[in-house]
């Protein structure tokens, strides 16, 4: 078993945050910029893990450069790895959930489940370029929903722009927002299942990328009609959405996504198991 494993992670800050919150048999040994070094709590219990955060476009270059393990959702990198006999890949757990944040009380929604499921299925199968599945529930996590003070009023403010905002650093969120905009052009009845404001926007509906910290705030403050938000799984759902105000807004679940663990076949099964344990439970993942 090697003393350490180089692990490249593409644009997955949430994954790293999840690891650092529950390192299991590992502990944080060093942190510098985009590199994190994890070491086993018990000496000799496993290899040290050196995590490198890289952009998605550099994923295939990382594989060519001989990285031990690549954790990515980039379909091009996954397709490239499938063509290489020296590499093997396994899915990670469903580690991220995407939802539509709209203003108003969830109880006030009429919930045409069929239409929502149709949209969720389209999002999971065609809209996003990562491994995704429809999500009808926000989270199985039992974290309590914070009840913070509300400064906004119910309903859509008159000044709200007909925009669906998303984090400009999140390609999946951008794709989800774009698909919703496309549906606004051709299938308004489907959008009506999520929000009357979205359906009413119709042709004027736009997708707009904003800073990650402003995604939920734009909705809570009544500046836009909706936002695509993402939270890591497992997590505490709404509480993990920056700027979220449960008193005035709610999130409608859309999809869950996962990444794939691409490793060199020369790694021992023990090393892979150790790594899988370190980065989270992958038992939910399919092959």
């Amino acid at each position: 078993m090697p003393a350490s494993l180089d692990v490249a992670v593409t644009d997955a800050p949430d994954s790293i945050a999840a690891w650092l919150s529950d390192l299991g048999a590992y502990q944080l040994a060093a942190y510098s910029g985009d590199t994190v070094r994890l070491e086993p709590v018990v000496d000799g219990a496993g290899p040290a893990l050196v995590l490198h955060r890289i952009p998605a476009r550099a994923a295939r270059d990382a594989l060519d450069a001989g990285v031990d393990v690549l954790l990515t959702a980039d379909p091009d990198a996954i397709a490239y790895a499938a063509t290489r006999s020296d590499l093997t890949s396994v899915p990670s757990g469903w580690n991220r959930a995407y939802g539509l944040l709209v203003r108003g009380d969830q109880s006030s929604d009429s919930v045409p489940a069929l239409a929502r499921d149709t949209v969720r299925a389209q999002l999971a199968t065609g809209a996003v370029r990562v491994d995704a599945r429809p999500a009808s529930a926000w989270s199985d996590d039992p974290c309590p929903t914070p009840a913070g003070p509300s400064t906004a009023t119910n309903g859509i403010a008159a000044a709200a722009r007909p925009h669906i905002v998303y984090s400009r650093t999140d390609d999946v969120a951008r794709s989800v927002a774009a698909r919703l905009v496309a549906l606004g052009l051709s299938r308004k009845e489907l959008l009506a299942a999520f929000s009357a404001s979205l359906a009413n926007a119709g042709d004027s509906l736009r997708a707009e990328g904003v800073d990650p910290g402003d995604v939920a705030r734009e909705v809570v403050r009544g500046r836009v009609v909706a936002a695509v938000v993402a939270v890591p799984l497992p997590g505490c759902g709404l509480r993990d959405v920056p700027g979220m105000d449960p008193a005035t807004s709610h999130v409608i679940p859309l999809i869950q996504t996962r990444e794939r663990l691409i490793a060199r076949r020369s790694l021992t099964a023990h090393a892979l198991a150790t790594l899988a344990h370190a980065i989270g439970d992958s038992s939910q993942a399919g092959p």
Binding site: P75, G126, S175, R179, V181, A182, L185, S186, R206, A207
Partner: protein, 565 residues
Amino acid sequence: MIAFGVVALAPLVVIAAGVRREMDQRLTTQDERRAAALAGVAAADLAHRGASIGDRLASLADALSDDNRFRLAVTQGDPAQRGYVLDLAGREMRLTGLSMLQIEDASGRILSSGHFRNEYDRLEPDLPPLLASARGAALVHARTPDGPVLVLARVDSVRLGGRAFALVGGDVVDSGFLARLAPGGDFSIALSLPGDGVVATAAMPADSHAVVVSRTNVPYIAAGAGSARSLQAASLTLSRSTAALDALRRSVDIWFIAAMAVTATIVLAASTWLAARVSRPIRELAEQTARVDLDRLDTDFNTGRDDEIGALSRLLGAMTRRLRASAARERDAERRAAVGDLARQVNHDVKNGLAPIRHVLRHLAQVERDEPARLAAVFAERRPTLDASVDYLDTLARNYARLSPRLDVAPCDANAIARTVAAGVSLPRSSALVLELAEDVPPVRADALVLRRILENLVTNACDALDGRGGTVTIGTVRADGGAQLIVSDTGSGMTREQLNRAFDDFYTTKPGGTGLGLSIVRRLVADLGAALRVDTEPGAGTRVSVTFSPNDNQPGPLRPAEHR
């Protein structure tokens, strides 16, 4: 100087105006030609852009006909290729450099969209046939997640398995696109859509005056009511900024104005130099010449100049000297003539005075010879005649003696002399003598006796002018320009112009028994003292004679001509 400036500047102004007009015409013509040529380039470039889009779509159609995965997906409905098809347009769009690309099936359903990946499954059946009817590139609004964008698009098609697929692709038309069409920095281009006004501009300076060079119609697929579309015409307007040309004109104007200013400055300097060298010396020479007369020939025409003005000045100086010599000779001749006249007059007067004496003496001699006893009686009888003749001769001698005074110049109190003269005046009946003496009269540099004689003669003349009809004789003194002025005036008969002209001649008199020497003596005495004599007179209104002494001036001065009031 003004004439010199006009002569120097007028040709320059004419030349400047002509050159500017000619240059402006040529620049304008060249600019218009260049603008027309560049407008043609812009139109050709736009056509080239459309052709380039068509070429890229044709290449893409060829590639798709060979793409088995796309074929499987669209003809066999292979779900495994769905993701490939969805990403296909985006991938091909990047490869071909297009900024808009969508693949539609025969029903108009979007299978893949590069500019709006998640727009798949939307129906847009009317776009391909409208683009085909445009027979080239057309402007169309393409949807993106961020909103619609204007695209210069064309359409191509590919047939796979007996099914037709339309490829709609194009380039975004924005300010950058238009800027690349604008052929130069001073050109601007604007795109106007029917009903929307100007939707995009490029290189349009905000503060310039743009001139429209050309308008080109571009097919435009406009969205109508609902989803209906129609083919219309958009207008691509190429404008040219006249700012550069205007700036060039301003620059030329500034240079011309600068040239004018420099020329004007040079002309002014030259005029000033000429004035200093020519005009002013000539004016001064004229003033000096104007001061020249027979009584004042002491004007100095000396100069150090060696030019024409210097020569003229020297000529005038020489002429003045000749005049001075001539005047001296004339005065000498006059004096000689006067002496001759005087001698003849003396001869005549003495003879006249001696004649009665001679007659009385002959008579007495005859009485002594013939009647000695009556000699005493006759002598007593004839003695008044002898006495009268002797008195006459004595008077004559005194008068002649007054013709040659000797000056003893010293400061004199004019008022005191005036009072002395006034005390000795024997006024005619019904006449009055008035003294008007100013207290601030400065001392007069003169011979006191001469001054007294001047006043006595003037007062005597004034008294005689009363002609026994009564009147007033006034003796006055005033301070005049720092000097002193003695005035003797009367309310007598006055003089005519002819009388005045001869009043100062020797032996000219209008009075019975007068010698005609009074005013003649006054004139000489005044001239000897260097004072000025002035006479104001009018027949019936009296006469006013003034003698003016300059401050401490005892040099010979001009005898001011008598004036007739």
